[in-house]
């Protein structure tokens, strides 16, 4: 392989191509696109958590200078637009379908959370639109709101037809066997947990620019989406904004998503609908306050778990009961996150033979809750790793050793868990060992003593997590209720001069695909890294795609590109064999050249590409051209796993926690770009630290969001974080061509439990996330005064 390819191919820490434009301000985000004569939209949003819209008086607003029109949910309903569907149908315990309340993009008669849009004002300027929105007089009849998920089933009914506010009562695993094993267990550890509500806070708020061309009938929507093709499919097939072939969705540079930009939202839908209805090009860009109110939130579980062990300390059964807050409506993946992305992960890294989980998904008058970095898997890890840690303490066992004692061993793969998954490969002990060595586990007692001498309580906590990524085998996903398959497409278009344009259905909104995917293609085709251009995020350019979430891009989207590259090599081999007058079976493709085996006859990839477009000496049975595409549908999920260890210190006087050290050892399978992987881990860890120590989306009893700005919602900052120490171990994924597993979510999945276990270790008892200084101080204070 040429030296250039070695420096930029698979495994090289290539600097990110896209960063030059991002850090020089030449990236183009949705709000950077402008069309002459465009109008600006401001949404009318409910100030109440639950209310009936009695009357909307727009007469004054219509008179505001610059206001073009005011559109409401009533008009949208009159235009026959469909509801926003939930993309995953979950079956209940009794076999019936979940109960999905209708979710009109714009509320027409009832509003069900603070910030829910029920109309929009369109004006020549943003200022006029705002002015107009304030001039709309809406008469609301306020109704009692349901806010607390733990009390939702006994509260006032929010949606007609949804009794007890219960969207679903779901289960997985064998209940009877699990309960029997618990009943006969030598020891049972019981734990009650709250997984705190988080608000995603991508750096770029959501935005949309919608236009309609009456000449061609084409609708164009620029928007902040993690999966523009899925958005187009849903908006055409379900919401029926426009037929699929007349709707182009472009998700250009997108400034972070963390899941929150997967979903079909009201605002983007309303913008494209309004563009067609009015014939105007309409721009909407959320401000930060709107992002807090109306982006789908994450987590928000209340859980009771019981872990049974035999005399030896082997886990014999785990039973988990969870209430998941779904918010006011079922968002796109709102039903799958607390079920199939959660319950299936409760085996963790352990051989627990009996597992049963039941989840009640409840509606409340809060913003919809959906996938947020990790999506179900952080919640599962938090349950497993908190209860295992608690068990170790109750049994007086070393928490690391109790884990090791119960871990699935390398010889047991493929391993069927009692909760529907088959882990293909892994070596959990090796990452545990590495992490323990890195943190100097044996030296901890001395560090604890030194801290105590300085008035600090030091604690250490582990988390041995597993996640299911690379979503997902289509048939399995559809069987479990998914509305679409979860394969991915990839196309490599070779230009006559030999450089290539790569089209992927994955979407990069921070992940660095333009770099890593170029590394894969350059490595596979033996062409220079700079000769590969990656195109994504445009339904008009990319054939199809299912987008980026669930750490799937590399494992699924990258594998699709491998398929396309293989097809190119196969065709190129035939072309080269013809040109070299050799048997195709005797032609090998190595280091970017087609070589006749045991000869010095060879053609470069570029020469073959040129021949395909200028077919002078060309096989008659082959079509000209050199472009191939492939769809890749994974056989199984991928299973990244690892060990995270946190060390914290508590200031006795104030209760302030300092995260003093953090070690993460992750097995992501093969790694394309170690620098990008380290960056992904750091970012995920920062979000995990945020969840454990700082972040909390809080509604008051009336359903008003009281953490609606950065004054009150505490985002992690650089000075809240230690210098993370990260390392990787490798067991290659057994079922995709790259042997990769995905790394995007691991940091956020593994870390909260490690930190909270460290807090419990330091404090001698657990507290709920986020572990704020006052909570810690109260525990210490109660002890002092007791």
């Amino acid at each position: 392989m040429s030296e250039a390819v070695v420096q930029t191919g698979i495994g090289a820490s290539v600097k990110r191509k896209e960063d030059l434009r991002f850090i020089t301000g030449t990236g183009r985000y949705t709000d950077d696109f402008n069309v002459a004569g465009q109008k600006y939209a401001v949404f009318l949003r409910s100030p109440y958590a639950r209310a009936r819209i009695e009357d909307i008086d727009v007469s004054e607003a219509a008179n505001v200078r610059g206001v073009c029109t005011v559109l409401t949910g009533q008009q949208m309903a009159e235009d026959g637009l469909g509801d926003i569907p939930c993309g995953w149908l979950v079956k209940q315990k009794d076999g019936s379908d979940m109960v999905s309340a209708p979710h009109p993009p714009l509320a027409a008669t009832l509003v069900n959370y603070v910030g829910e849009p029920y109309g929009l004002v369109i004006a020549d300027t943003l200022a006029a639109a705002r002015q107009g929105a304030e001039a709309v007089l809406t008469d609301f009849a306020e109704l009692d709101a349901v806010v607390d998920p733990a009390e939702a089933t006994g509260s006032e009914q929010i949606h007609e037809g949804v009794s007890d506010n219960l969207a679903f009562d779901w289960e997985l695993g064998e209940r009877a066997a699990t309960e029997a094993a618990l009943a006969s267990a030598a020891h049972v550890t019981r734990i009650d947990l709250v997984n705190n509500r988080l608000i995603p806070n991508a750096m770029e708020p959501r935005a949309a620019l919608g236009s309609y061309d009456p000449g061609s009938g084409e609708h164009t929507l620029y928007t902040t989406s993690q999966n523009p093709h899925l958005a187009r499919l849903v908006l055409s097939a379900f919401v029926q904004v426009a037929p699929e072939h007349k709707l182009r969705i472009i998700a250009p540079d997108v400034g972070g998503g963390f899941g929150s930009k997967i979903f079909i939202y009201a605002e983007e839908t309303a913008v494209i609908w309004a563009a067609r209805r009015t014939g105007m090009t309409i721009k909407w860009t959320a401000d930060r306050s709107e992002a807090f109110l109306a982006d789908a939130h994450g987590r928000d579980h209340v859980t009771h778990a019981e872990l049974g062990m035999n005399e030896a300390g082997e886990f014999v059964a785990l039973k988990v009961s969870t209430t998941a807050n779904l918010g006011a409506y079922l968002s796109t993946f709102g039903s799958s996150v607390p079920t199939y992305l959660y319950g299936t992960l409760l085996a963790g890294q352990y051989r627990t033979p009996n597992i049963y989980v039941e989840v009640q998904g409840v509606y409340t008058n809060t913003a919809p809750v959906d996938a947020y970095r990790g999506a179900g898997r952080p919640e599962a890890t938090y349950v497993v790793e908190r209860v295992v840690e608690q068990a170790a303490r109750e049994l007086g066992r070393d928490p690391a050793e109790l884990r090791r004692f119960n871990m699935i061993t390398p010889d047991q793969f493929p391993y069927d868990t009692p909760v529907a998954l088959t882990y293909d490969t892994g070596d959990y002990q090796v990452s545990l060992d590495r992490a323990l060595a890195m943190i100097d586990y044996d030296g901890f007692p001395a560090r604890r003593e030194a801290a105590a001498a300085a008035g600090k309580r030091r604690g250490l906590g582990l988390s041995c997590y597993i996640e299911a990524c690379g979503l997902a085998p289509s048939q399995l996903a559809i069987q479990l209720g998914a509305g679409v398959g979860l394969y991915e497409s990839g196309e490599i278009r070779v230009n006559p001069t030999g450089n290539v344009t790569v089209f992927t259905g994955s979407h990069s909104h921070g992940q660095g695909h333009e770099t890593t995917f170029a590394q894969i293609v350059s490595d596979r085709l033996g062409i220079p890294f700079d000769d590969v251009e990656v195109v994504h995020g445009d339904t008009g350019r990319v054939e199809f795609g299912l987008g980026t979430y669930g750490s799937r891009s590399l494992a699924v989207g990258g594998s699709a590109l491998m398929g396309a590259a293989d097809k190119l090599i196969a065709k190129g081999t035939k072309i080269a064999a013809h040109m070299l007058e050799a048997d195709p079976a005797a032609v090998d493709f190595t280091d970017g050249s087609f070589v006749v085996r045991d000869s010095n006859q060879a053609l470069t990839f570029g020469e073959v590409a040129f021949a395909a477009y200028v077919p002078t000496n060309y096989p008659t049975e082959l079509e000209p051209g050199f472009s191939e595409k492939a769809f890749y549908d994974p056989e199984n999920f991928t299973y990244p796993a690892g060990t995270h260890i946190a060390e914290i210190e508590i200031d006795e006087a104030t209760g302030v926690i300092e995260l003093v050290d953090f070690v993460a050892v992750d097995d992501f399978g093969h790694i394309i770009n170690p620098m990008i992987v380290a960056g992904q881990v750091h970012g995920g860890l920062a979000q995990g630290v945020g969840q454990a120590l700082l972040e909390h989306g809080i509604y008051d009893e009336y359903g008003q969001l009281i953490t609606g700005s950065y004054m009150d919602y505490c985002m992690p900052r650089a000075d809240d974080l230690p210098d993370f120490r990260v390392d990787t171990t490798v067991t290659p994924c057994t079922h995709n061509p790259l042997g990769v597993k995905g790394c995007g979510e691991a940091g956020a999945i593994g870390s909260p439990a490690a930190i909270m276990n460290a807090v419990a270790d330091a404090l001698g008892e657990a507290v709920a996330m986020p572990a704020t200084s006052e909570k810690i101080w109260r525990v210490l204070q109660n002890r002092r005064t007791a």
Binding site: I706, D712, E774
Partner: protein, 266 residues
Amino acid sequence: MYQFNYHKPTSVEEAQALFKAVEDGMFLAGGQTLIPTLKQRLAAPTDVIDLSGIAELSGIEVRDDRVSVGAFTRHADVADSAEIRRVLPVLSALAGQIGDGQVRNRGTLGGSVANSDPAADYPAAVVALGATVYTASRSISADDYFKDLFETALEPGEILSRIEFQCPTRAAYRKFPNPASRYATVGVLVADFSGDIRVGVTGAGPCAFRATALEEVLREQLSVEAVETVEVPDAGFNSDLHASAEYRAHLVKVMTKRAVADLLKA
């Protein structure tokens, strides 16, 4: 923001005359509170009177045991002033902890003290350093200046022109930041004026105040242990999702102890 008329006077007299002449005027200093408030459409003045063109409001002057800081002096200039660092280092240290770099480059002493946000840092220095607040027509002693939540002794339209701080023998400021906003959940400035101790507290109550009970015991014995003997009642203290009144009262003691320890080390 809503539309307003913008004015940029060059003297205090002109600014005050404008304020009287317009319907609903507001003064703009560094804009670190007013601009976000306007942008969120939470204020709708008819006229905004920008004080940045008034040269007489800026400047730092050291006279004997006093430091006079012009109202329009930015936090960053107080933090970086070699003069202030020499004679009143605690004020520079405090200014260096306000907000972040952007806030310190824009925000002003006068804007902060005139606004009297309960969680602002400067008010602790004003009360603990026995400051005198000057306006065009009068001077107000620190003890009479802060009245209540966002309420001061300033009359409508009265412009704070400068603040004169007394330089203590030694002093220290300790802040417990709100983890989200980084405002002071509690901030305590302890100043020793040759044995006369003043303790200024911000963040805990509706406005900055002197903790007289703490001052009394510290006058008797300036030590960390002495602080321990004092009960800090939480009556009237602020309570929010970040800190209850009870926790704030506790933090007043802890921050006082830490400030005393710093001061004794200095």
